[in-house]
Amino acid sequence: MSEEYGDAVNVLFVEVQGADDAKVERFALEKKWLGTHAMWTTERPLNVGLRGIPNFALLDSSGEVILKGYSTKLHSQIEELVAAEVKAASKGPKDLPKSLKKAYKAFHKGDLAKGIAEADKVAAKGGDDADAATALAAELRQRASGKVDRIQWMVDHGFVVEAGDLLSDLKKGLSGEEALEARVEQLRATLDSPEMKPEMEAAKLFAKAEATLFDKGLKAKGIDRKLAKIAEKYQGTQSAKRAQHLLELMKG
């Protein structure tokens, strides 16, 4: 699913048989399951209410549960619903008033500030949809802020190449939302600073090594030497820590 839809769908795998995070990561690495957009955790964010596994819950774009059950039994229903939800994601929740569709669509397209402004406009007009518009504007602001928070996280944890790629789009999309624009500017300045140069270099090399490892699995030739070199040469960077982590994972 993650391969088919890329980042249009969130896929979250939850290990429920008591494995720790390292075991899950190594397991996924051995199976060559890493390297997609899929996410992994050992925490249960919700309870489906079934004993056997695999089981699942499918949430729509607003976070509402739309289907749950055993994954193998309901496979075609999952596929149908996901396809429908990917298509519907730009339109917003089913109960969204018509006057707010434009706002939601703009936000979903990446015009975050425009989406927020449209919602504010509807709220300011008053009338029947004013409350819904105020709530939507607040939610969109929170989601926009969440996007900036996640880029901050990426910068702090060495995902600087990915952060840089996202920042340009985000800057465009947030034009007009001053507070968030300022945060994006600050993040850009951090990434462009001389202090970030080693992290950037390390991150680029690490990204290549990691991609090879995910593609070829644990038997990827010479990958341990490449990771060890990054860990040594760029000691102190987040990418060096990530390289070291993978080396430890590979040892088992």
Partner: protein
């Protein structure tokens, strides 16, 4: 002493009953919007810390095991 023995027996019975109960109970309802804040970073989550962070796209949560 009798009260302590009785309490211990009662506690033991409760614990045994809980161990026999199914691990899962009712579960989320279709139509509900669950809320959860992750305590640990999600692998490949790129900073996502809660279910709310995943809004804006459909989310498939798959429960599986390594055994």
């Amino acid at each position: 002493m009798k009260i302590l023995a009785t309490t211990s027996l009662a506690l033991g019975l409760v614990l045994a009953a809980n161990a026999a109960m199914p691990v899962q109970s009712e579960g989320v309802e279709v139509g509900s919007t669950p809320v959860y804040q992750f305590r640990q970073p999600i692998l490949n989550g790129m900073g996502a810390k809660s279910l709310a962070d995943l809004k804006g796209k459909p989310t498939l949560i798959d429960f599986w095991g390594t055994r």
